[in-house]
Symmetry: C2
């Protein structure tokens, strides 16, 4: 079966702009076309749209606007990991022989309907992600003797990183005190612990081994894929201090890639809230249980920015359907040595962690140059 590579990408700046979903998709895709040599509309066999937006038929609309007449064309939704679900689907279309070149475009508006957990809400559970994040924080702090100050290190680091990302929503430094003094949303969560919903889009181009050299000298191969959905309701999680779906997805991805944690040079971790970054590091197996914060601090003090160099979701903003795609673009740029000020030394193997709905579902990807 053909190997599958990422061969092009395009993004919009993440913002609070009041743009139509079609315009966001178009802008990100136009940016991809502008930056991908030798790409024409006729090269593209499939167009997938990743979004939580309620508009229908968006892949056909994007295709018409950009002048593509694809074979395969549809939208994909899985809340916050719609983006990596779309990438995995595109991978399977190419691997199966149904397509050679696939365009994926993810987009969201700041007021995305995917921010309300209707299912939990309907059943008398928790309507807004803030509530599960708060329970995760309380549980993680208590279990592992972690403090609010420790967790505040995550947004401080990620805002600092996002200043090197021209597409990021945040462009300013914040301090530990800023986080601790920001609006208290619950006993265990402050405003600056949260990633912010925003308007943004990101597009990637995937191609089979046969076609990838047409578009880039430096294809980035998808070598590991792991996905797991444990539940839909977050209270079904057996514990609130680790992420079972992430653990299983990471295991599958490492197995498929024949790689292990020590092989990873750079990583995108789904820091929807401060606590998610150390919890995910623990669950993927980068750190021992409860030692994620220690790893984040050590990695930072040694001047390496290998954890969320683009600023994560907290620094970059979180346009749901675009997030997993922007994470993938970051790792692609890192492995191509094209990450400018964000560039991590000797980045040859990277990992993406993208999750949904209190980590009831996770995707982990391994990419290699």
């Amino acid at each position: 079966m053909p190997k599958v590579a990422i061969v092009g990408y395009g993004q919009t700046k993440f913002s609070k702009e009041d743009l139509k979903i079609e315009s966001i998709l178009l802008k990100a895709t136009k940016n991809l076309f502008d930056s991908t040599s030798n790409l024409t509309q006729k090269d593209i066999d499939a167009v997938l749209v990743s979004t939580n937006n309620n508009s229908k038929y968006l892949s056909a609309i994007l295709s018409e606007m950009i002048g593509i007449q694809p074979k395969i064309s549809h939208s994909i939704e899985s809340l916050c990991n719609s983006g990596t679900n779309s990438i995995v689907s595109a991978y399977s279309y190419i691997k199966s022989g149904l397509a050679e070149v696939v365009l994926i475009s993810g987009a969201e508006r700041y007021d995305s309907p995917g921010q309300i957990l209707e299912w939990d809400n309907l059943r008398g559970e928790y309507k807004h992600p803030v509530f599960w994040a708060s329970i995760f924080s309380k549980s993680y702090k208590k279990k592992y003797d972690v403090t609010d100050e420790d967790l505040a290190f995550v947004p401080v680091k990620n805002h600092k990183h996002s200043k090197n990302n021209p597409y990021a929503f945040s462009q300013k430094n914040i301090s530990i005190e800023d986080v601790l003094n920001s609006k208290k949303l619950t006993d265990d969560l402050r405003l600056l612990d949260c990633s912010r919903p925003c308007t943004g889009g990101s597009s990637v181009l995937l191609a089979s081994e046969k076609y990838c050299k047409q578009f880039t000298d430096c294809p980035i191969w998808i070598t590991g894929i792991g996905q797991k959905t444990t539940f839909a309701s977050f209270t079904k999680n057996q514990t609130f201090h680790n992420m079972e779906s992430t653990k299983q997805a990471a295991k599958s991805a490492f197995n498929m890639a024949k790689r292990c944690q020590n092989d990873i040079d750079v990583m995108e971790i789904h820091d929807a809230f401060s606590v998610c970054e150390p919890m995910a590091l623990d669950s993927i197996g980068f750190s021992n249980q409860g030692e994620g914060i220690k790893m984040i601090k050590e990695s930072y003090s040694s001047e390496s920015s290998k954890i969320n160099p683009r600023g994560g979701l907290i620094g970059s903003g979180h346009p749901l359907g675009a997030t997993g795609i922007s994470q993938t673009i970051e790792i692609t740029q890192q492995l191509q040595s094209k990450a400018n000020k964000r560039q991590v030394d000797k980045a040859n193997i990277g990992l993406i962690h993208n999750m949904a709905a209190a980590a009831t579902s996770s995707t982990v990807l391994v990419l290699e140059n």
Copy 2:
């Protein structure tokens, strides 16, 4: 690469019931589990939901309700051919080796938001499918000297067929006069020319060659797949008397299956409106241009019901996200000789035609026993 087969199915009755989307998905999937021997939750690697409903995270919700913890899990939307898009995606997950067994569940409520063509509407075109159907009817009648009476034969035949389909919305015969005397929606379209939106669900199980014998003695193989999206806006169609996307999708499907029109023993044709059935037959190449009605009449008078034996969309009802899946179930049952009163003689090779938004997008599948 492994062959892929349909190995199980379940449906709900199509109705005007006011059911939650989650309940419809659950009912259809429970019916699939009840009728598929040896199937357990642990067998399922991926759960795909096909719908235009605005609820998010439905594949995770369905998985939790039924007790599945899948690897791959997301929703797919492409208006009226969401169902066959989901089947093609499932095929690619299996073919690529990412999954061995995939559950697909399609569901819609009678008030689906997919019935309004927002894209055309926003641009001052036509809000409701009735308008494109009317233009198609006028154009087809004028071009090929076809009469309202000729077209009325389609709903008469399909309502008759649907009486043999226990899941169909319509259970009564109608006459040519009933069609012609039904409410006039436009100069070229009457109420009984239209398929009806309804509440309904349908689920199918796909498996790799290695696993299919666990679930059925009679797997039905997917041998041909063709898909094409030409535009999003129906006025971009160059003609209104044939379906370019259908023509191209059919050509691809026949090529892949190494079959031709004459090989097909039974077919599901997307008769969203009366005129769609002959137009699709022409575009697939079953009939010469303009002779679809002649083929429908000849096929009917010879007591064969090989065109839309379950009653098509007009007789069965049209719950958007479920339609392509129900069409696939019908052909599966026909090729398994399990279609009861609807059974077509010597049915070994079948075809499914499913389209969206004035045939700006089409899927054609070839199945074989």
